[in-house]
Amino acid sequence: MRELTFGQAIKEALVEEMRRDPTVFIIGEDVAEAGTVFKVLSGLVDTFGRERVIDSPISEAGVTGLGVGAAMTGMRPVVDIMFGDFITLAMDQIVNQAAKVHYMSGGKLRVPLVIRTTMGATRRSAAQHSQSLYAWLAHIPGLKVVLPSTPADAKGLLKSAIRDDSPVVFFEDKMMYQVKGPVPEAEYTVPLGVADVKRSGTDVTIVATSSMVQVALEAAARLEGDGISVEVVDPRTLMPLDKSALVESAKKTGRVIVVDEGYEQYGVTAEIAAVIAEGAFDHLDAPVRRMGAMNVPVPFSPVLEDQTVPTAAAVAGAAKQLCGRA
């Protein structure tokens, strides 16, 4: 199969959906000629023009609200928020408006809005440009939350997100944009709410999200040498969450590690651990092990920052311990 980078896969999804549906448009800071600061959208404006690829002022709240209004009235906007840290500025529009309009109106209004934003540390971008804040959005009924981990998933999930009638927040790991992977040529979508077993195994389950899927797969490869068979499950969407897939895997292996790049405290690992602890209670040999980002603002200095994100070595170590091999 042909290979695309994560960034290319995202662009391809947008191109296809914009071709397919004239109500889809993109708005955000430096999305047009600049093609975003990450160059993910390079050339898109040449294809669709400035009417459908719109450079905005630096107004995260305003642009998100604009997306809500456009979505309520027949368009399918894709709002680009450059860094996930900047959703802090748009939380009222995302949470009090986008997420609630459908419910508050008794189902009369819909907000088919996609907010594409980023996540992830280790770019030495320090505390205000490195956060992975999706746990906040997953907490809010009315929103869907997508965390793709491969180019193929990114493409298929983004297409589903655009076609979805709910507001969807789509988090892209900045460090993954250049990573390549196979992407089918033929049209396809990946449904929201279906987990994917990225590797099957029998001894221990690693539930991993976004950037941490690769880390989990690396850990799994290392553990193979130690005779430990790892299953890696990627929920792909936090909301809807494919609870049964997580629980099934946990029942099979009896040992679970949850790895995620959001802050560990009150984060995604807690929900997933709780879901598994409840659903697979009698099958667990040990408590679900949580590994999130360290509970500190992300520091600038590389020697500090690199400690804050789970590594393959750390995950492998935890797995060995869980399996009584450490």
Partner: protein, 330 residues
């Protein structure tokens, strides 16, 4: 500054004036009933009455077509009614009944009615200012010539998103009219203590043309809104209309001790001299467009409509418990 106050108000056909009178009166009597329902413990939640400000909603919405959009506020009953909402479903919503506009899920502060172009009230001050720009962009992209009106209170001058929104509306020449209901207070704080400088200079700084009108004169409001709406419809871009008005009652129904922020004399003077319903009634009579008995007849018709609406709502069933989990996602 391009203001509308000094200009002569263009003549408005008698039929239209009578309809505006009727609409204002409907809002007035509706709100009096809301007050009644609330104080008698039949209406849950909060009730922010529009009494005193009727000319704004009616004058502005008269300048709109059914397919044009409005966004509304916590003080939104008047906007909804003026845009064409039915009294029955309004009352039903206020009482949390299944027959309400939002099936009882929204309540007073969230009434939405897409059929009349009402994109919904908003309980966040300034919360719909950017949504309105989005609806305007959408209208432009879809090639309709719909216009969007964003109603908001003078308290929203404190909210940053208003400026983000106006800036985008101006940049892209979008068909949105910002209608500020300048009633001198946001809750219990005077706007002069909350907004520095000249508020009208704020939209102007974004290059948005402004008009200033007496918000108690529905004819003036209508004339100004009409000009701005037509200009927007022709592709002339956004506009800003400030309507000087006054809420005759408390911030919400329970706000009874108002002396800490405004005087009884001030209230009485407004109510006595600047009642928008009375002002139009007097005009109609003086201009011999209607006589007292004609107005009285309108009054009776409306009262009957409102009474029937209240009864409809009181009799209507509550939602089924199971509806609580519906409409989270489409």
């Amino acid at each position: 500054m391009e203001t509308g106050t000094q200009r002569a108000i263009p003549a408005i056909p008698k039929e239209e004036l009578l309809q505006m009178y009727e609409q204002m009166l409907r809002i007035r009597i509706f709100e009096e009933q809301v007050n009644e329902l609330y104080t008698s413990g039949k209406m849950p939640g909060l009730a922010h009455l529009y009494i005193g400000e009727e000319a704004v909603a009616v004058g502005v919405c008269r300048a709109l077509r059914r397919e044009d959009y409005i966004t509304s506020t916590h003080r939104g009953h008047g906007h909804c009614l003026a845009k064409g909402a039915a009294v029955n479903q309004m009352f039903a919503e206020l009482l949390g009944k299944a027959a309400g506009y939002c099936h009882g899920k929204g309540g007073s502060m969230h009434i939405a009615d897409p059929e009349t172009g009402n994109l919904g009230a908003n309980a966040i001050v300034g919360g719909s200012t950017a949504i309105a720009v989005g609806a305007a962009l959408s209208a432009k992209m879809r090639g309709t010539n719909q216009v969007v009106v964003c109603f908001f209170g003078d308290g929203a001058f404190g909210q940053g998103v208003l400026y983000e929104a106006m800036n985008m509306a101006a940049l892209w020449k979008l068909p949105v009219i910002y209608v500020c209901e300048s009633n001198m207070y946001g809750e219990y704080t005077a706007t002069r203590e909350a907004a520095a400088g000249e508020v009208l200079a704020r939209p102007q700084a974004c290059g948005i043309p402004v008009k200033e009108v007496d918000g108690q004169e529905v004819r003036a409001v209508f004339a100004a809104a009409k000009e701005q709406v037509e200009r927007a419809r022709r592709g002339g871009g956004p506009a800003f209309l400030i309507c000087h008005t006054y809420r005759f009652r408390g911030h919400h129904v329970g706000d009874v001790n108002r002396s800490s922020y405004r005087s009884a004399e001030e209230e009485e003077a407004w109510i006595r001299e600047r009642d928008p319903v009375r002002l139009l009634g007097l005009f109609l009579i003086r201009q011999r467009l209607a006589d007292a008995s004609a107005l009285e007849k309108i009054d009776q018709t409306i009262r009957a409509e409102i009474a029937a609406g209240v009864q409809f709502a009181l009799d209507a069933p509550y939602p089924e418990p199971g509806e609580v989990t519906q409409n989270v996602y489409p």
